[in-house]
């Protein structure tokens, strides 16, 4: 087991390095001279060609590409992702200060999705082919078919503009209002993100529970006189929820993608909003920093999913 974990961690480190090389080469292939990008227009006017050459040498842009890559990688590992072209602030600081809002949004949404998916999936499995089951199927299909940003815009129209119940954008009102204020701002984006994630999760819980319900031990429990509620809650549901942690981990990166979009709709000050703005202003260092953060998140989630799967289910062949 320990060997398995170590090997998986090493594999993931190698993969992260490969992604790093890919991103690095892409940045090098991108149009535009980084020196000219970094220099403000005023400086560029007075700066001569010699000045730019000197800056290039100073920044090490004339070194062999492998040397440049090694230097970039070492900087990146030690947390130095360069500075934003836009306002010269360090990229790692910019990303870190936006990590909190994104994590808050995603964890709330995750909680909401589980609160919807587990009960709904359970009822749909137990009462198969009834109204509840069909409603659950319709919900799953609906949320994967309707784009979340359209749901977001519609929600703003209904709840902010027509009814005036909830704020339409941002994370808090300027004059403050504490936790309740943040909560009010959080409800709509988190609910929509959670709803989108609940679709596939509900299908998963239902399918997994149906498989368990046909197992021998369930029949035994029923034969011993256990009520339906008891058999489901004490026996079948527990087993069917074990792999849920794997499914949740695998879905976290997809949830991040949803968060990027909803942060844009609701002006939520998270990492996704920063990344979209960086693309529109061609702020390469911020784009690269964001990509590396996401790559790390994806790899960690996959790693946890793999390990959790092997830990909770000893039947999984560990290789």
């Amino acid at each position: 087991m320990a060997a398995f974990v170590v090997r998986r961690i090493l594999v993931n480190i190698v993969v992260f390095m490969l992604i790093g090389i890919g991103v690095f080469l892409l940045v090098r292939a991108a149009p535009g001279d980084p020196v000219r990008m970094m220099i403000s227009p005023e400086d560029l006017q007075e700066g001569s060609e010699q000045f730019i050459q000197a800056r290039r040498a100073e920044l090490g842009l004339d070194d062999p590409i492998l040397v440049q890559y090694a230097r970039w990688l070492l900087d990146a590992i030690s947390g130095d992702l360069g500075s934003s072209f836009l306002n010269r602030e360090p990229v790692s600081g910019l990303l870190l200060e936006r990590l909190g809002p994104t994590v808050l949004l995603m964890s709330t949404a995750l909680g909401i999705s589980l609160l919807i998916a587990v009960p709904l999936g359970t009822i749909a499995a137990v009462r198969r082919n009834t109204g509840v089951d069909y409603a659950a199927a319709a919900l799953s299909l609906g949320v994967i078919s309707v784009p979340s940003f359209f749901l977001g815009i519609t929600a703003i129209y209904v709840f902010s503009l027509q009814l005036g119940w909830l704020p339409s954008s941002g994370m808090s009102t300027p004059d403050g209002g504490g936790g309740a204020d943040v909560l009010k701002h959080l409800i709509m984006p988190a609910a929509i993100l959670g709803l989108a994630a609940a679709g596939p999760l509900t299908r998963y819980v239902r399918g997994s529970l149906i498989d368990e319900l046909s197992a021998d031990y369930v029949r035994t429990a029923e034969a011993k006189g256990g009520s339906l509620a008891r058999v489901v809650s004490r026996h079948a549901l527990r087993n069917s929820l074990i792999p849920l942690i794997t499914i949740v981990m695998i879905n976290i990166p997809q949830m991040l993608a949803g968060a990027v979009v909803l942060e844009q709709v609701f002006a939520w000050p998270g990492m996704g909003q920063l990344a979209v703005r960086a693309v529109n202003t061609q702020d390469y260092p911020v784009i690269v920093g964001f990509a590396l953060y996401v790559a790390a998140l994806v790899l960690v989630c996959n790693l946890v999913a793999d390990i959790a799967y092997a830990v909770v289910d000893p039947r999984v062949k560990v290789t």
Partner: protein, 316 residues
């Protein structure tokens, strides 16, 4: 958008084995004289929801093909004297921020959105089939490497791939198609690999191999035909995902660029509260168009899955 992968290879293979075993041709005594394809078509026709979806898509396809006739006016002609006009007899769905006719843009956008969706799905299925078959046929370390890559790509949100590519190389339709395909091919690859592993050990494949068939021949003559039904299903569902991705990315300004209209970038205007509040004709029609189209494609995809492999229906 993504499906949940039960991260066990064994699950892929069993499902595929069942599908191949149950599959076309062994449909029970009463239907032994019908071809598998005809039986699948019959099952599909009985599925009213799927047929409804298919009809909607056909109508949409006609609208997209005949866009110039149906739109009646140019989607690009700017009229700064008549910006953000409410719907009227002249402009059925009003005009946008540049005075362009929203109905004409909606109709022309159907072309772009469908095209991006279909091309991205085709590319994804092509790459996925090739990778899956190679992984299944060759096995060993190549199989492990390819499937690990597939898992990785599957979990990498395509929006991030596009943010990096569009951010560094500039947004464009080819980049959009490639980025969407990049996150959709693993689903096809896993499925085709499962079918390949299931088919690989059957007698007719041994026979073909003994007769000296090359791997390319096995792929063309045996594996692709065996997987065809499921390839069509995966491909259809990929179209739904691709249309949705196009909409999301264009909405963020990372996909189709104006003045060219796509349903996603038409919603881009709706990031201002004034527009959301008082000009619903700007955001409601494209939003509903995306939802109706993606829903229809999903209906058709689910219908095809049930038709191709009835034993899988109600599962997953």
């Amino acid at each position: 958008m993504s499906d949940l992968r039960p991260s066990l290879d064994a699950a892929d293979v069993t499902a595929a084995q069942e599908a191949v075993a149950a599959g076309p041709g062994t449909g029970g005594p009463s239907s032994s004289r019908r071809s598998p394809r005809a039986m699948a078509a019959r099952r599909f026709r009985r599925n009213k929801v799927a047929v409804g979806g298919a009809i909607f898509l056909l109508v949409l396809l006609v609208v997209a093909l005949l866009a110039p006739l149906i739109a009646g006016q140019s989607p690009y002609s700017v009229d700064l004297g008549a910006i953000r006009q409410p719907p009227s007899a002249e402009h059925w769905l009003g005009t946008d921020a540049s005075g362009r006719d929203v109905f004409a843009r909606l109709v022309y956008a159907a072309r772009v959105s469908l095209m991006v969706g279909v091309f991205a799905a085709l590319l994804a299925v092509l790459v996925g089939t090739l990778v899956g078959a190679v992984a299944g046929l060759f096995g060993g370390w190549l199989d492990t490497a390819l499937m690990r890559t597939a898992d990785m790509m599957l979990s990498f949100p395509n929006i991030v791939v596009v943010i990096v590519l569009a951010g560094l190389l500039g947004p464009s339709i080819p980049i959009l198609v490639i980025a969407i395909a990049a996150s959709e091919w693993p689903t096809a690859a896993r499925m085709v690999r499962g079918v390949t592993l299931a088919v690989r050990e059957r007698e007719y494949l041994h026979a073909a191999r003994v007769a000296g068939a090359s791997r390319g021949w096995l792929l063309r003559k045996h594996i692709v035909p065996a997987a065809m039904g499921q390839i069509v299903v995966v491909g259809t569902l990929a179209v739904a995902g691709a249309i949705l991705s196009e909409a999301v990315l264009s909405f963020l300004g990372l996909g189709v660029q104006p003045p060219q209209a796509s349903w996603g970038n038409m919603l881009n205007d709706a990031q201002s509260l004034t527009v959301i509040q008082s000009m619903p004709w700007l955001w409601l029609p494209p939003g509903l168009a995306i939802a109706a189209t993606v829903l229809s494609v999903n209906f058709v995809g689910d219908g095809l899955r049930d038709a191709v492999d009835p034993r899988q229906s109600g599962r997953s």
